[in-house]
Symmetry: C2
Subunit: 458 residues, 2 copies
Amino acid sequence: MTATTDFPEYTQDARAQAEQELFTLLRIPSVSADPARRADMRRAAEYLQTKLASLGFTARVDDTPGHPVVYAERLQAQGKPTVLIYGHYDVQPEAPLEKWETPPFEPTVRDGRIYARGATDDKGQAYAHVRGAELLLTQGELPVNVKFLLEGEEEVGSPNLEPYIRAHVDELRADTIVISDGSRFAPDVPTVTYGLRGLSYVEVHVTGANRDLHSGSYGGAAPNPINALAQIISSLKDEQGRVTIPGFYDGVDELTPAEREMWAGLPHDDASFAASIGATALPGEAGFSTLERLWARPTLDVNGIWGGYQGEGSKTVIASTAGAKISMRLVPGQDPERITRLIQAYLPTIAPEGAQVVVKDLHGGQPVLIDLDNPYVQAAGRALAAVHGKAPVYTRGGGSIPIVAAFRELLHAPVVLVDFGLNEDAPHSPNESFALSDYHDGVLTSAHLLREISGATS
Amino acid sequence: MTATTDFPEYTQDARAQAEQELFTLLRIPSVSADPARRADMRRAAEYLQTKLASLGFTARVDDTPGHPVVYAERLQAQGKPTVLIYGHYDVQPEAPLEKWETPPFEPTVRDGRIYARGATDDKGQAYAHVRGAELLLTQGELPVNVKFLLEGEEEVGSPNLEPYIRAHVDELRADTIVISDGSRFAPDVPTVTYGLRGLSYVEVHVTGANRDLHSGSYGGAAPNPINALAQIISSLKDEQGRVTIPGFYDGVDELTPAEREMWAGLPHDDASFAASIGATALPGEAGFSTLERLWARPTLDVNGIWGGYQGEGSKTVIASTAGAKISMRLVPGQDPERITRLIQAYLPTIAPEGAQVVVKDLHGGQPVLIDLDNPYVQAAGRALAAVHGKAPVYTRGGGSIPIVAAFRELLHAPVVLVDFGLNEDAPHSPNESFALSDYHDGVLTSAHLLREISGATS
């Protein structure tokens, strides 16, 4: 349910307009990983700058060595806190394209959901804050000072954002940083997220012979890099589902009994969770519940693998090379750079004879844990309660927002993670979507949150 | 060195013409695995038919449910043996195209070698027999009755050739069957091959969740089909390099002490063999020499693998599916259909929880062992000695010619395997090639062989 009583200005017309503006943004194929989409990246940035300028923000598009950053500010609330709203306008690659029911960059509404790449991650959630500010402006001046920082490289590890923040520390200074770039716990469960996992992402290349070989003439004597890669990957976890890289678990923060109890009380059951992804089992580290494994335990997954003949029919070849993309989700107590060094050092030591292994660092991100007692997190709780008519739950997220750690380190401000999306939105998958009701609730939550923050500290 | 004394008609002009005719055939991209190349397949078949007809053969192109068969015969040698020459005009896919120094279907001569897909496998070796017959015809009538059977589906497992042979048994009847579709032992070592490995080739599909998932939101609980596939593959061999599929080695013919001794005497050393393929090791089944592992021991290789994100940069996804092509080389005593059933039954039993496994049979071929004492194998030995000025060695081949078993079974005639190529020709690889000298020696060997067979039994 949606409490619009405080914001009668959010009319059906306003909602329709908010939807059309988001659709326009979703039609721009701003895939940061794809060098061919550079111009689209800039178009998306300029679209956001133009919109924010129209709301009376001082807005600009700043170049970086990669994709541009959109920065905007409206600082008219004398003596009130300053809120920095972070989001990203880049999206994941659309592959595999053939699995999309409607084109990824042609937003389509079905059963009350917007289907498009970036609908929930993060264009829809970020734009909800833009419309939230717009909604407040219909009632007069903003109750707090607001800064928007919208980047274009979140899906490739934000390589240029930290330098950008360093170069603009004074300008970006804020009392709190608000981010909506994840999923709340469940459809009817408003959620404040107080932890995120970190990430170490590498690419592995294995080489055998110096050329592809006939598997008949050489099978039985030639090194096979695909078999070798499979052996390496399979040896990275033991039978308990624990990662075998020496030192991997050193320093991992253990869950507190209070957290385990709080999460055990959440409305979750493995059967329906498994059913929601069409899985017949939920394999993982022994000794931890599913939520504990998702939110507070590190893990390792192969995100992609390739080698040899992938075409039609059968080719009797022993490939010269094979490769894989491997990522590890990290938890508080683990340092991404250290973990990346560990796997880079370890893989060559377990390579079968005849296999040459190179491990390339693609990117990493720090895990995050947020103090539940800070006033801004409390304000988020009240904002969600006002919109949903019930108190939110406090959970962690399994994903990573690497830049959150940089915000904390460089801006020394508490981060508030209030997510409008759902896992069922299928971010990063074909047919990514975002419920229209979640989008509009996001707009209202954003408006309530800024108002609550204003009151919280006045 | 090449003994042309018996065939002064094989002049420089004749050689140049023999090369140009082969180049024309090599320019036709007759990739049997590629549905888009159907018309090219027919063009290649018609080119061979036209050539053989011009030599006075009764030649035709016979349709099959797949690609056509070229059949030609010249039966003017009253009371003389009939020789059936088998070859194939289809070639392996050219992928990976970017690794070719010159276009795969634009034959280019460098350092005395013809570079093109199919140069050695099998257009070059098959066409050497066509020119061998032509060479004999310059001296008068052929000394034996000659039949050519040139198929277009060898590289996809000859699915339609056995039915074709059954339908034409009387027409194809012969005293011996000559095949040149492999590699001799070494550049200066004329070789008669008396054994071939069989093949079982399957495609494995592993499914986890019903859609791609965000590795942050689901990593630690969702089944990962790539990790599962790696685990399945790595468990298919033990630390001794032995295949672990239950029953895999049942009935395998052990090597005789005489064979082990004969092969131990061949000019081979592991170091230079490894160097020839740029490998740092020659991993394989413990307890057997490299040649024994290549010729007389079964093995298993992954020929291709795929799953998840293979593009630029990093995508944090847990794929819904992954797949691999797996082939097993078989030896006398192993039945391909039985081995395929074994792996189809075994893989699902070793799948990690949450992984659904389907194993698809792509194709298979029977292993072959030939009696060294039959007069046609002896004739091949004399023909090679005449051309190379030295006695040949007797080896087995690691590859498979599935149809050889069918010939033996349906035509009840001994098969003679006399190979003109070399492993260094890189069949199935980018930059496949065939030495011009090997091509011309092949033409002369073919002519000598037909003459020797005529004498051998007159």
